[in-house]
């Protein structure tokens, strides 16, 4: 590793040269702009500033090679992991990448990383005490991101459900002359009796009404 000659390019650096103290080049490979941003922010707050985001498209492998990162972070669910690993095998971008987890004995860390969907590749020779905080931070940020995603998803579903229930209510109000409250109570009672969700009963009612040509 010491025998490499400096190439002198600003962004590129000699293959195999590991980071000096204080600097660590981290590349985040991610399709989702938001997740990558959430992670990058966290890393910057923690004092890392040599961070690059590369989407796994087109010639991303060549770009990564030129960057010669010390740590590569990637979503475990990304289908492009096989492509990245092949590149790690045939090129020397990461002098000798070691397994995705730094300390194989740290099973809790490994479990947390897989649960969070983080995979990491680290240049050989980088001390594990230096990498562990990066990985822990990535795990926390990935978890934050998926929480945000599921909250967003819930909010979207709730909104869509409400629209369905509202439409079913209007059908009942029109066809049976019920008040809004009575229409809702009828939907709720039917749902309870059938062991279904109100939105499912409402959807069934809308479908039936459409089929019968009585749509709103």
């Amino acid at each position: 590793m010491l025998g490499n000659v400096r190439q002198g390019l600003p962004v590129e650096r000699p293959v195999g040269q590991t980071a000096q103290r204080g600097e660590m080049r981290i590349v985040i490979i991610d399709d989702s702009g938001l997740r990558a941003t959430v992670l990058e922010e966290g890393l910057r707050e923690a004092g890392y500033d040599d961070i690059h985001i590369v989407p796994p498209r087109g010639a991303f492998v060549a770009r990564l090679e030129r960057m010669a990162p010390d740590v590569v972070l990637m979503d475990l669910g990304s289908p492009s992991r096989d492509t990245l690993e092949e590149m790690l095998t045939v090129s020397r971008a990461l002098a000798r990448p070691i397994a995705m987890f730094v300390d194989q004995s740290d099973e809790a860390m490994i479990g947390a990383a897989i649960d969070a969907g983080v995979s990491a590749y680290v240049v050989d020779g980088l001390r594990k005490e230096r990498v562990k905080p990066v990985l822990e931070l990535a795990v926390r940020r990935f978890n934050t991101f998926s929480r945000m995603q599921s909250e967003l998803e819930e909010a979207r579903t709730a909104l869509a459900d409400r629209k369905v229930v509202d439409r079913a209510k209007s059908i009942l109000m029109n066809q049976r002359g019920l008040s809004e409250q009575d229409a809702y109570n009828l939907l709720r009672t039917s749902a309870m009796n059938q062991g279904k969700k109100i939105v499912d009963v409402a959807q069934a009612l809308i479908t039936a009404s459409d089929l019968l040509g009585g749509g709103l």
């Binding site: 990304s78 492009s80 096989d82 690993e85 995705m100 987890f101 897989i114």
Partner: protein, 404 residues
Amino acid sequence: MTTSLRIAFLPLNDVAVLAAARERGFAEDEGIALDLVRTTSWATLRDRLVYGQVQAAHMLAPLAVAVTLGLSQQPAALAAPFKLGVNGNMLVMARDFAAALDPDPARRLADPLGTAHDFAAAIGLWRRKPVIGVVHRFSSHALMLRYWLASAGIDPDRDVVLRVLPPSLTVEAIHAGEIDGFIAGEPWGGAAIASGRAEAVAIGERIWQRGVEKVLAFREPWLEENPDTVDRLLRALARAAAWCDEPDNREVLADILSHADYVDQPADLILGALGGRIVPRAGDAPLDCPNFVLFSREATPFPWRSQALWIYSQLLRWGMVEASPQAAAQAAAVFRPDVFRRALAGSDVPMPGASMKLEGALESPLAVGSRKGDLTLGPDRFFDGRVFDPERIEDYLTGFSQLR
């Protein structure tokens, strides 16, 4: 008492046996609740298995050998007591590349050697190296593609670019012009053909008539510690495999596989490959390839140690591993005919008497020694007629040396 098992898989037709075991109640009959975990890359499937997030995986046979030999990230001893299928791959190329080959796709498929030579002759006419997608360095697909290319003097590491990408991204990549062709398990080749962008160039079964493909892989210590669960699972899978091979069940099977939880592709596309009806070019009549994929007959699930050693021989051939008696022994030990025999001793599954055989020696079906039931092995020739003797790996490789 019900045992829960998590098994990781990739969306491919040959997840059939696992899907049938779950959806048709074969696992439940053995007191097993199967949780099948859909995964989009082999790397993640491997990590989930190696780090114990799943108990087993639908794994490329060469990857199981590679992980055991420490060639693919964290080394771990894996054990494969059951093959999930034989054959099932197809090499397709973009239409302008296929135009350099025999215009009749049926003749192309029937003559892999001629097609390889046509392809070799055409390489010089293109202004760049052809880029061919493979699903993984350690896949049966990559090993067969290399074998096929080399038969015509093409050096797969020099004359073409092999690009790794997961099966589910192959069709998109050929559309985007990022690759000129790819070899993958179905339904992905079929999907590229149906889209009109690619044509069939070779099928796995015509390269090696009975080619080792996916295995059910466990961590070896887990397999040893849970013999009862493993045996029950294998019994369920053997029944599921027999169900999958039954032509009358294919439509139901294709329907199961088409669901978003499994392959998430149209059922008729999946059905074509299951039944060996291969459309080689959009608009053409399908060709009959009755051995396109096998799940049960001819003792397909039996893990012949000679097949693990064939994989090892190819890893040696392409310089992916250093030759050593220890590595050979480790590779052979990944396949576990002993566990297969133990699990299925009381069943009516025909049981080969031997654990190794010559690979590629059968030109026609052959009735072989079996501990019970009738067992006929199908023809298993390689298209170039070479025979692999697992006890003479060096000689076998010397035979290729003028090619590489």
